[in-house]
């Protein structure tokens, strides 16, 4: 019964690799989007901040699957371009997690006390410098747990990409199952792999927080 995993190990490993790849790209892009949106909202940049608020509200009210399907089917139909399932996944995931990260990062930025900002300004730093040297470092480091939590969510989300035939871990596992039909073994294996990956990332997050969080 366990042979089925061993026999297909290369294919499943390739799936895991794809999962990690997609996660990595979406994490990087999503964090960039999140940081920019958070800053725009924190600084209340006219017009841009309002647009960002709409973006966050829209994404937070939508299921990931629907955002994915929208990016894969609806947008190409509307604008007449072709896209691959892989890139539709990366795009929709980045946009999706970006909205949640934006809120977490914004909360971090807002947690920096205005008096500290005043003190920094009083020493002759410009607002831009204060943001770069004081608000961002402290703000981001104070929300490491929520940010890592979003990253773990993202890794779990990648399973949804299997629905549009992306060859990540879940997708490949289902393909194997379609051939050999051992759902109990295969799904247990897949569950354990996700468990290990998620726990590893969480553990890393806990270390990161212990090392870098700012004590006041």
């Amino acid at each position: 019964m366990h042979d089925v995993i061993f026999v297909n190990r290369d294919f499943l490993a390739a799936g895991l690799l794809a999962t990690l790849q997609i996660s990595a790209i979406a994490i990087v892009c999503g964090t960039l989007i999140g940081a920019v949106v958070a800053l725009l909202r924190y600084l209340r940049v006219p017009f841009a901040a309002r647009f960002c608020a709409l973006y966050v509200g829209l994404i937070q009210g939508a299921p990931l699957l629907v955002v994915l399907l929208f990016c894969y089917f609806a947008l190409p139909a509307l604008f007449g371009y072709k896209t691959t399932a892989y890139w539709a996944t990366v795009l929709s995931f980045s946009v999706f997690i970006g909205a949640y990260l934006a809120e977490d990062i914004r909360a971090g930025l807002q947690s920096v006390s205005p008096k500290l900002i005043q003190a920094a300004l009083a020493s002759g730093l410009t607002m831009a410098q204060v943001l770069r040297l004081v608000v961002l470092p402290i703000g981001v480091r104070s929300v490491i747990p929520p940010i890592i939590g979003q990253y773990v969510r993202l890794i779990k989300f990648t399973s949804v990409a299997s629905i549009i035939s992306v060859q990540e871990l879940t997708g490949n596992a289902l393909l194997v199952n379609a051939r050999v039909f051992e759902p109990a073994t295969i799904l247990s294996f897949v569950a354990i792999v996700y468990l290990i990956v998620c726990q590893a990332v969480s553990l890393f997050g806990r270390w990161l927080n212990a090392r870098f969080s700012v004590r006041t």
């Binding site: 939508a62 299921p63 990931l64 629907v66 399907l69 779990k156 996700y194």
Partner: protein
């Protein structure tokens, strides 16, 4: 952009949209009730139970939460197909158990954060453990965690979209069907997005109105709740 909009196709098949909407609401509601019950039981064990129970509760939460919801759905639908459960039941079970992990955390934290004096005073006045829970602890905890539970409901509605993958005829499933029938891809998926947005907004506002000040007082932390 050469796309010509045709929204009438949606109106033509409004019966499918409505039935999908109803299925989603049913799915989310039933799962919420089950998730809350299960979550409260395990969460209470995790907070006030014996050492073994506490370890179990923590381990259970970590295990359930670390496995993607989609895998939960497939497990019930495929791996446990021997139980011959209909797709809707599989979706309910998967959603309930998955969400209960989050409720467990919320309940456990809620009970632990209650001032210790409460339980001590209750026990000192002669109430049994069970009475203490029922009359003193739960009422206070429930009031404090309601905003977080509202978030769980909100998240459940969005998570329920995955049921479409195991052929439950919810909003997302019907959207796929509609796309296949009308080829009005953009209109169909735009409408799907709007439907979920509206549903989630209504739920948030309703719960906000029902809970009033307790909702505004303690904002739920959406980071504890997650997934598609």
């Amino acid at each position: 952009m050469n796309y010509s909009f045709d929204w009438s196709a949606l109106w033509l098949h409004r019966d499918l949209i409505v039935s999908g909407f109803i299925t989603t609401v049913e799915l989310a509601s039933i799962s919420l009730v089950l998730a809350t019950v299960l979550g409260m039981v395990i969460g209470t064990c995790g907070a006030v139970g014996s050492r073994g129970l506490r370890v179990f509760a923590v381990g259970w939460v970590e295990l359930i939460r670390s496995v993607p919801l989609l895998i939960h759905m497939y497990i019930w639908y495929m791996a446990l197909a021997v139980l011959k459960l209909p797709a809707f039941a599989c979706a309910v079970l998967a959603l309930s158990i998955y969400s209960s992990a989050y409720v467990t955390e919320i309940v456990r934290a809620g009970i632990e954060n209650l001032p210790a004096g409460q339980a001590k005073a209750a026990l000192a006045s002669g109430l049994t453990q069970f009475q203490t829970l029922r009359l003193v602890i739960y009422p206070q905890v429930l009031r404090r965690i309601l905003p977080s539970l509202a978030s769980v409901f909100s998240q459940l509605i969005k998570d329920s979209s995955l049921a479409s993958v195991i052929a439950v005829a919810d909003i997302t499933y019907e959207a796929g069907a509609l796309d296949g029938m009308t080829f009005r891809t953009f209109e169909v998926y735009a409408m799907t997005l709007v439907l979920y947005l509206v549903l989630v907004s209504i739920v948030n506002r309703l719960l906000g109105a029902l809970l009033g000040s307790s909702m505004r007082a303690s904002r739920p932390s959406p980071r504890e709740l997650s997934d598609a």
